[in-house]
């Protein structure tokens, strides 16, 4: 056993270190992966924000030529694609990763290595997409890439190919993560945590994961068809051969509308955790919030053509999609009233996290109402492709999703790092974002109603657009300052922030019952759950406190030495790397794609032959 076996073992020895760069590259700890997702998403947020700010500068006055029309097309395409796929979704994934196992009383996700694979593939997809800037020009057909301005005939650069391959990679990462979280939530709940005792954030993650798993295959097919058209000369979107560009719109929005709920449901979950905690009340109407979330998940599949009212579908189709869209306002309204009733009569504490949650609530209502406005086809005819739509989508995505993400950051940062974020800076941060957001995006409602089209790089003087565009740019400048204050707050608080302790907010859910940051095995003893808001009940309730349970031999050993945790692994990283090489191969050279494919296959074999957990004494 000394010769060959040992050499192979030496080369392929498993990573074991707990510190340093290799420990992060090979980590399969859900908490570390969550932090990686969060930090990466924030870096991409700065990218997407910079793109937005360049566009705002270009539009701050009439007839400016800060950027060329071609560059402007690339900027809005990359801004939209980045913010949807590289910022809001991975921010949600960061919280899924860090919080979900802690909330359901688990030690990790169901498939820790698959989880690492999701992260690295997401990172690779994001890098591939952004590398298009220096490799021949970024995609330029808008984030929904309508056919046939994406066809080779009208778009001969390789920006669209980067977009296709990048989105397929990001879709792969998202589907893998979605599968993982469905299994984790359904299968790894602590004893006693029935489905209707799960925190609402867990519920919304479950619904979101199902949407991801079912919606991304649809866009994958659309992207494959587009790729075949561009690379192999097929006829999907070529009208001369009978192809119908509308097919793209149907496939894209059949994915795209569930995608909207993929972006907003996690935000709704975060707010459903934050508001009860800071109101010192249980969530009002728990069951109706959960059912409304599930209803949104189902109904989201029946509304996609409201993005297409102006393409000339039949009146019957427009009516159906209009009614279906307005119906979605009902479960959404149920949620909003439940949140308001949660605050009502509570002992409300205006922490930064709670303020962001209130900010979400108020801005999301505005965005939701303008959404109902363009659910009416006749009204939508006036609003389609104007700044009114830009205002709407920024109220739901910035005012909605990003506000909730920031609420979540202020809420869970102490659990992630052991330090509280500075509240004074936090409140300045909140008010600047709230003001900047409204100054930046509210004028766009008027600009849109006055007829300013979106995605046009400039406008003439004398159209009456100048003043409000300047105001909007000023608002976005305030936002940029606010984000810098946020960054300063994170660094300052990490260095000399107040130590958080286990339970800084007097929380309700299981993650607050363990230390901050949690040990790598999370729970020395797996808790037994007897009620909703189990940790709160154990502190104040009449139910019995959370008990330990003999799940494995670990419970005699409170410091966790007996707990078998899955070991780090190289293979998720290598498999993702293979995918990315394959991606570049599909853009530049099919031989490279074959090499990437072989790397992936090799990594998958090594992965499946490697046991999930190394034995204690590897002798």
């Amino acid at each position: 056993m000394t010769t060959l076996g040992n050499i192979i073992n030496g080369v392929t020895r498993r990573p074991t270190g707990e510190y340093g760069i290799w420990s992060w590259l090979t980590t399969i700890d859900h908490k570390r992966i969550g932090i990686l997702y969060g930090v990466t998403a924030f870096v991409f947020f700065l990218f997407g924000g910079t793109e937005a700010y360049i566009m705002r500068l270009q539009l701050s006055q009439s007839n400016l030529s800060l950027v060329s029309p071609e560059l402007y097309n690339q900027l809005f395409t990359m801004h939209g694609t980045t913010m949807v796929f590289l910022v809001v979704m991975p921010f949600a994934a960061a919280f899924f990763n860090f919080v979900i196992p802690l909330m359901i009383g688990a030690r990790d996700v169901a498939f820790p290595r698959l989880n690492a694979f999701s992260y690295w593939t997401f990172l690779g997809g994001g890098i591939l997409l952004n590398s298009s800037w220096i490799l021949g020009g970024a995609p330029n057909a808008g984030w929904f890439g309508y056919a046939n301005i994406t066809s080779l005939e009208f778009n001969s650069g390789n920006g669209i190919d980067f977009w296709i391959v990048g989105l397929v990679l990001l879709g792969t990462a998202s589907i893998a993560a979605g599968l993982n979280f469905i299994v984790t939530i359904l299968n790894l709940r602590a004893p006693g945590m029935t489905l209707m005792r799960m925190p609402v954030f867990v519920w919304m993650t479950l619904v979101t994961s199902f949407l991801i798993v079912l919606a991304f295959p649809v866009i994958t097919v659309a992207l494959i068809e587009l790729f075949m058209d561009r690379s192999f000369g097929t006829n999907y979107f070529t009208p001369e051969k009978g192809g119908d560009p509308l097919l793209w719109q149907h496939l894209f929005w059949l994915f795209g509308h569930p995608e909207v709920y993929i972006l907003i449901l996690p935000a709704m979950g975060i707010v459903s955790e934050v508001l009860p905690t800071f109101s010192r009340k249980p969530l009002f109407g728990y069951s109706s919030i959960v059912l409304a979330g599930i209803a949104i998940g189902f109904m989201g599949w029946g509304v996609w053509s409201h993005h297409m009212f102006t393409v000339g579908l039949e009146a019957a189709a427009n009516s159906f999609f209009s009614i279906a869209t307005m119906l979605i306002a009902i479960p959404t309204g149920i949620k909003i009233f439940n949140w308001i009733c949660t605050i009502w009569g509570g002992a409300f504490r205006p922490t930064t996290s709670a303020l962001f949650a209130i900010g979400f609530l108020s801005l999301f209502i505005i965005g939701g109402l303008s959404g109902v406005m363009h659910a009416v086809p006749t009204s939508d005819y006036q609003q389609q492709d104007t700044y009114f739509v830009v205002a709407h989508l920024h109220y739901v995505l910035f005012g909605g999703a990003i506000m909730a993400v920031l609420s979540g950051v202020y809420y869970w940062f102490p659990k992630m790092t052991g330090k509280l974020l500075n509240e004074t800076l936090g409140k300045i941060n909140f008010w600047l974002i709230f003001i900047g957001m409204n100054v930046g995006f509210f004028p766009m409602h008027f600009l849109g109603m006055w007829g300013m089209p979106r995605r046009v790089y400039t406008y003439d003087a004398g159209m009456g657009f100048d003043a409000l565009n300047l105001l909007s740019t000023i608002g976005v400048t305030i936002l940029a300052i606010a984000i810098m204050i946020f960054i300063y707050n994170v660094f300052k608080s990490l260095r000399d922030g107040e130590v958080a302790g286990n339970d800084p907010w007097d929380g309700r859910t299981l993650e607050w019952s363990i230390s901050s940051p949690p040990p790598h095995y999370n729970f020395a003893t797996i808790p037994v759950v007897n009620s909703r808001d189990a940790f709160w009940e154990s502190k104040y309730g009449t139910n019995a406190p959370i008990e330990g349970v003999s799940v494995d031999s670990a419970d005699e050993n409170e410091n966790g030495h007996g707990i078998h945790m899955p070991s780090p692994s190289y293979y998720p990283l290598i498999a993702s790397l293979g995918q990315v090489v394959m991606g570049y191969g599909f853009i530049f050279n099919y031989a490279l794609a074959v090499i990437g494919g072989l790397i992936t296959v090799a990594a998958v074999y090594a992965w499946s032959l490697e046991p999930a957990t190394e034995p204690d004494h590897d002798e």
Partner: protein, 204 residues
């Protein structure tokens, strides 16, 4: 080689639903695959009869030949069941026979498909020719790719069965590949009906 008898991460704990993690994973994954093939089939149906030039489905399809390859794939599902049944009873030798048969039958199906694609190309139908060619080759090509992945997966399990002792975790692995294999089979039944049979009847 040391024999480390490890129960997988998952089998150490009871799962909340009582279903192993990997089995739940494959079910949800197949749901995802349903949306994938659903979108491809929907595209095919949307473009059915919209080709501007031939060849059309009734010009190229040979129902007898495709019926044989369909039969081969259906029989492979039966041998898959027999393989799973054998491993559940712990009969490794019989298991090897049936899982290898399944892989060979799957490979035969792929052979039929390659033959068919070549025939169609000879008759002037390529993915570029018309909408029928575009949608037909994409749909059946991705199905064929799934069968190929399945064959590789089956052969891998067949190969591993010689190098390590099979445990209950490996019986689960066979269960997973079986679920995948039956799914791919069912998708083919839909494709055979919608694309081939209806295509010929309606004259495309």
């Amino acid at each position: 080689m040391e024999q480390v008898h490890l129960k997988g991460h998952e089998s150490e704990h009871e799962t909340s639903l009582g279903i192993p993690h990997r089995k739940l994973l494959i079910w949800v994954f197949l749901a995802s695959e349903c949306m994938f093939f659903g979108s491809l089939i929907a595209t095919y149906l949307v473009y059915q009869g919209k080709s501007l030039v031939g060849p059309y489905p009734h010009d190229v399809f040979s129902i007898p030949i495709t019926s044989v390859s369909t039969f081969v794939l259906l029989v492979s599902s039966m041998s898959m069941v027999l393989a799973y049944s054998a491993i559940s009873r712990g009969n490794i030798k019989v298991f090897r026979i049936w899982i290898l048969s399944t892989a060979i039958l799957g490979a035969c199906f792929i052979g039929f498909q390659v033959f068919e694609f070549r025939e169609f190309a000879v008759e002037g139908l390529t993915p570029r020719t018309n909408l029928f060619g575009t949608t037909f080759f994409t749909l059946t090509g991705f199905h064929g790719a799934h069968v190929t992945v399945g064959v590789i997966w089956l052969l891998s399990i067949f190969g591993f069965s010689f190098f390590k002792k099979f445990t209950s975790a490996d019986s689960l692995s066979v269960d997973l590949v079986a679920l995948y294999w039956h799914f791919v089979d069912v998708v083919w039944i839909v494709i055979f009906t919608v694309v081939y049979l209806i295509g010929v009847v309606e004259g495309g």
